[in-house]
Symmetry: C2
Subunit: 417 residues, 2 copies
């Protein structure tokens, strides 16, 4: 079954690769319109998923991610309309020249082909990723969470209807409806037809894909992000950035999880931090040195475990670690960080430059919140995923990350000497 | 053991990432000089490998790849000096702007970190890849063929001596000397420390890496390349390009393996082809339709098997298949090609454009030999490998393919709204 889907997706991808921007945009516009026209059907399907999820006792957080309302659906439709307005990267001539041999060589931007996407209980991802793949002329095989099976089926039916309306093959966007996990493993081995795998989910899903896939996998989305407050930092400014990085939207991957504080300022800075974190219901998890200082303060404070320094809280929890130098802050980040987003708060030019040079992460900030690591914030128009690996794309991935290039060489009956 | 090597390589990579172009070039110059100064030792070590290889009855082709002479060694040293002369891509600011939020965002080119390279019996690869990794500030763990164990040990000792002379850690370039294949598998799982795996060898090695690696793998170097001669082609020009593509260096991956001939010209073109191929000792492997025509000619001709259409000959053998249309030529390439290099020989602008658009390969040529797919021919200065996958790098990979980027954001105490 998966093999047949792969074959059909590959065939569809050939047609999509030749498709004009106009037709692709028409398909996207139809999808947006049909989502609103068929809102009742989609919301009914979603209610079935919600009922099942409640029956199974899923957490409030998952229920919220799963829930669609007519407002959410309109907002998703508008996101699709936003994709229509983006520049189509396909067909772009990246560079070109006439070589000494006489070969006229150009690099043209082309679609990747077929993208496999494996994700969890967010029905919006289904539309989101389908829209981005279509815009860039890629076919997609989607495998959503089993909790959203009814909602996804309703959405996929609409996408395929829109594809049909513009004369594109319905197999351009397919979904694996069977919840059996063995189909994930089969998809990961389909290197004959699938060109890239994007997992959107937690650490376990990424690990599964890395270990089982024979197709290149874009891993990312796990953010164990740090802010280092050096001895020269402006306290008030630092507190405002830390508060923003921790509390603006705690469940996101670019939220700060661990604060590294220079030992010289620990005694004066941490009490102020304790106050502002208490005011904002943030729980602190302190290393032994900072525990002594923070325990006398007003914030809720616990002793931090080593494991807690390696994971995302995704909640209003913040680790505190005192370090003796910038070098030790960098060492801590190397050991515990996930290569996502790291920041230094400083008034020292030397420290800023050193931190930027030494820290190896997708995004490194000086006197700015880690919350900026985001496709929209970076001006990419759309966000496919946030990559924390180093090949192909790093950090927020825009439309370009769904493309590759082809070298095209024109000769006048040219042979190699 | 492999874990310790990985850890040491990662540590060395931090130092290399901060290293100036001047120091990296000094190290490379030392390597080139030491290769010539210590030629006797290296050639003695190579003689030991040669003796063992002969004892084991390895083929002439492998023996030739294994053999070093003082001329070959000088040529390798000069290749290293050529790497010195290349522009260092590290530190390049790829792009940057000030975003609406006030964030000053730039993308800086940085090394990947640690590269794992697995290759077969070519001692020149050891120096070649070490030089390219050093130039781009990457550490490397090399795993050469067991046939070159003595030669590689002598070369690695020289590279490490050069590193020491400029104050760089010797662990920047390490090699796995133990021929046990289990160390390959261990290297492929070392995702904690290794950022990219480059296999340089045959299809089996690439498959092994794809299946076992938890690290991104650059696959490539397998070229099942086609030339399609359409009904409008100039026969003499076509014959000269085909001859070049097949015989200029048959053992390379950009050599043509299958000729697709439009049915309209088969009766007139194939006899001419038969003559020129016979004159150049090329053996033809023909599909049923072309067999009938070619069997009456002068060339050595066999009936082609389906398997032979899917593999590289790497020798003076050429498959011949008659197709009824450009579309069927494209279909054949989709089914049998490896996504390396494909060419059309035509006088028709429409056919040229259609072929270029429809064929999905790293390089697509119009009226030029497939032999051009090569880092030096493409003006890249150096060639790390030829990628036939679509992510990160496609086709000949230059120095840039050994780099990634880091987003650096400067704020004036900036929070996300």
């Amino acid at each position: 079954m998966i093999n047949e889907m792969g074959k059909a997706a590959k065939l569809a991808s050939y047609q999509l690769a030749q498709c004009s921007t106009k037709i692709k945009n028409q398909a996207l516009t139809h999808i947006a319109d049909l989502l609103e026209l068929n809102a009742n059907e989609i919301l009914d399907a979603n209610q079935k998923d919600m009922a099942m999820a409640k029956e199974q006792g899923l957490t409030e957080a998952i229920l919220d991610r799963l829930l669609l309302t007519s407002e959410r659906l309109s907002s998703i439709a508008n996101d699709v309309r936003n994709v229509v307005s983006l520049t189509d990267p396909i067909g772009q001539v990246i560079d070109g020249s006439t070589l000494a041999s006489g070969l006229k060589l150009q690099r043209h931007r082309v679609p990747l082909g077929v993208i496999g996407v494996i994700y969890e209980a967010r029905p919006n991802v289904t539309i989101d990723i389908a829209a981005l793949c279509l815009k860039t002329g890629n076919a997609a095989i989607l495998r959503g969470g089993k909790e959203t099976v009814n909602t996804n089926a309703a959405i996929i039916a609409i996408i395929q209807q829109a594809l049909k309306q513009v004369g594109l093959p319905e197999t351009a966007i397919q979904s694996i409806d069977n919840p059996d996990r063995k189909y994930i493993t089969e998809l990961l081995k389909l290197d004959k037809y699938v060109d890239m795998i994007i997992p959107r989910g937690g650490a376990a899903l990424h690990k599964l894909c890395r270990e089982h896939s024979t197709i290149p996998v874009i891993t990312g989305g796990i953010g164990v992000c740090h802010i280092f407050v050096d001895e020269s930092a402006d306290f008030d400014k630092a507190l405002s950035i830390i508060l923003n990085a921790k509390t603006q939207r705690p469940s996101t991957c670019n939220t700060v999880e661990t604060l590294l504080v220079h030992t010289e300022i620990a005694n004066t800075f941490l009490p102020k931090l304790s106050q502002i974190m208490a005011d904002n219901q943030v729980i602190l998890h302190a290393d032994p040195d900072s525990y002594k200082i923070l325990n006398a303060g007003v914030a809720n404070v616990f002793a931090v475990e080593d494991d807690e320094l390696r994971q995302e809280w995704l909640s209003k929890d913040l680790n505190i670690v005192i370090v003796d130098s910038l070098e030790l802050a960098v060492e801590h980040i190397r050991e515990y960080g996930s290569g996502h987003s790291e920041a230094i708060l400083t008034r020292s030019l030397v420290n800023a430059e050193q931190f930027v040079n030494l820290v190896d992460a997708a995004a490194v900030y000086v006197n700015a919140s880690t919350r900026f690591t985001d496709g929209a914030q970076f001006g990419l128009g759309a966000e496919v995923a946030v990559s924390t690996q180093k090949l192909h794309a790093r950090g927020p991935m825009g439309l370009e990350a769904l493309t590759t290039y082809k070298w095209i060489g024109y000769g006048e009956d040219l042979i190699r000497q």
